[in-house]
């Protein structure tokens, strides 16, 4: 009871633990946001208790003594009216200024922030570290005491990134970039929750922000970026579908639905048989085999990733961008292996059933 009371009185020192109102502070801005919160809360306590006290006292003291009572009393008092208009106005002006200052701080990322690209889509978060070429899904690893800037967009509907312990939030909008920044002050794991309703699994659209010591960060990223380097061929499909497929997701489904591009479901079957017609009128079968353009079906796939305009599948508009330079050779090999083993990696509705390390996903 007493600790609840003291936590009501609260502390706004850096790194304060969680209290009655707010979670623990884990970022540099959390302290000033919390200070603003408590200024407002204390002003609110004052007015709330004053109003409630007046209510209770009047209720008791001026209780009706009998139906024949007639009362008179003041009906207006201009000075009082002005006082209780002007004084609250001054108070809220103060609150506004404090809030605005804190807000401007939240909006401007410091120079030289570490950039992370975030893509939200129903219902997962993908984090790309352009500096290292590493991709993470559902987890964001960042170094402690370093300003980090998230550049975000959505693949489908509105989402929102909220990291309560950091006190940051920004909507993620399709067709547009939004950003937020933070500087984590303590090593640990923090929740990142989607906070703009986005459909069925909105409440499952979670990520963990893992803050690691600065000297551990770079080695982790380098390892992540080249995690496929040490994999054998059998491990590549699980890696590809978890780490690479998200780039293809907006146009190529896993469940058979035709999108901007053909579905990946059953694709390898069709490709290996050459059962694809192009807008030029040619059939893939005539381009496979000895002494042909592609030779092996694997080569066709490789070409359609780095030079998609070369042969456009009949019925599509050829709007696929090239991934030349974005994917290393071994990553493309991983994609090819993914196609070959797709039925082991997904279920009937197109959900991914395997983790990046090959273990089944629950």
């Amino acid at each position: 009871m007493f600790s609840t009371l003291t936590s009501l009185l609260v502390t706004t020192t850096q790194g304060a633990p969680s209290n009655f109102w707010l979670p623990k502070q884990a970022s540099t801005v959390a302290e000033s946001v919390d200070l603003t919160f408590f200024v407002i809360t204390w002003i609110s306590y004052f007015f709330f208790f004053a109003i409630t006290a007046a209510l209770i006292i009047f209720m008791i003291k001026y209780r009706r003594k009998g139906p024949e009572i007639v009362v008179q009393g003041p009906t207006h008092n201009t000075i009082l009216e002005i006082a209780w208009t002007v004084l609250p106005l001054l108070l809220v002006a103060v609150i506004f200024v404090v809030g605005m200052r804190g807000y401007l701080n939240l909006m401007e990322a410091p120079e030289g922030s570490y950039d992370v690209q975030v893509t939200g889509q129903k219902w997962s978060w993908t984090f790309e570290h352009p500096k290292y070429g590493a991709t993470q899904v559902a987890q964001l690893t960042v170094p402690v005491n370093t300003p980090v800037r998230l550049l975000m967009t959505s693949n489908d509907v509105l989402h929102s990134v909220w990291i309560p312990d950091f006190r940051v939030k920004m909507d993620v909008i399709p067709g547009r970039y939004t950003s937020l920044w933070f500087e984590a002050t303590a090593v640990g794991d923090y929740s990142l929750a989607c906070s703009e309703y986005c459909g069925k699994d909105h409440s499952k659209m979670f990520a963990t922000v893992r803050v690691v010591p600065i000297d551990e960060f770079e080695p982790l990223m380098v390892k992540l970026a080249s995690e496929y380097e040490d994999m054998n061929v059998g491990q590549l499909p699980a890696y590809a579908i978890n780490r690479l497929y998200n780039r293809c997701q907006s146009c190529h489904s896993l469940d058979g639905t035709t999108g901007t591009g053909p579905s990946f479901k059953g694709l390898w079957d069709r490709v290996s048989k050459g059962d694809i017609e192009f807008t030029s009128g040619e059939k893939l079968s005539s381009l496979l085999g000895e002494a042909t353009t592609y030779g092996l079906p694997e080569n066709y796939i490789r070409t359609s990733i780095v030079d998609p305009q070369k042969h456009i599948v009949q019925g599509y508009l050829g709007s696929m961008p090239s991934f030349q330079g974005q994917l290393k050779d071994k990553q493309i090999t991983a994609m090819i292996e993914m196609f070959k083993h797709l039925s082991e990696l997904t279920d009937a509705e197109g959900n991914i059933t395997v983790n990046p390390d090959g273990t089944p996903r629950q």
């Binding site: 967009t153 067709g175 547009r176 970039y177 939004t178 146009c251 901007t260 508009l317 709007s319």
Partner: protein, 128 residues
């Protein structure tokens, strides 16, 4: 019987607009509509003001709205206060559109450039 309020004398039966006059106004409006459609199809690049089409269309629309307000809505023959109320509601429109557009323009730099696949598809369909 309805009450008369304390500040106002009931109007007598209002000013009646002759049918012929209303038909004339209707013809004028139809003519202006034809003008608008013509403007939308005419290629203005020769006159060197590319937005001429939009400017003309907006100008014509304003003229039409004024005519409708003055004559069809009877504001020409009503107390000025009624017209004032009508015009002041425009303030709210300006407020709304103004703020929304200002905001829109402010975040233009963060919009991802280029047409989306759906837009490209739609444009291609139009072109064929």
């Amino acid at each position: 019987m309805s009450n008369t309020d304390s500040t106002h004398h009931d109007d007598q039966v209002g000013h009646i607009v002759p049918i012929k006059f209303l038909v004339l106004i209707c013809c004028i409006l139809l003519f202006l509509t034809v003008v608008t459609v013509w403007v939308s199809r005419y290629d203005f690049t020769e006159i060197n003001i590319a937005e001429m089409g939009i400017l003309m269309a907006l100008f014509v629309a304003t003229v039409k709205a004024t005519i409708v307000g003055l004559y069809f809505m009877h504001l020409r023959w009503d107390r000025p206060f009624i017209g004032f109320i009508f015009v002041s509601s425009i303030l709210f429109v300006v407020l709304f559109i103004g703020m929304a557009l200002t905001d829109s323009m402010a975040y233009q730099p963060s919009i991802i450039k280029g047409d989306t696949p759906k837009v490209t598809e739609a444009m291609d369909k139009l072109a064929h």
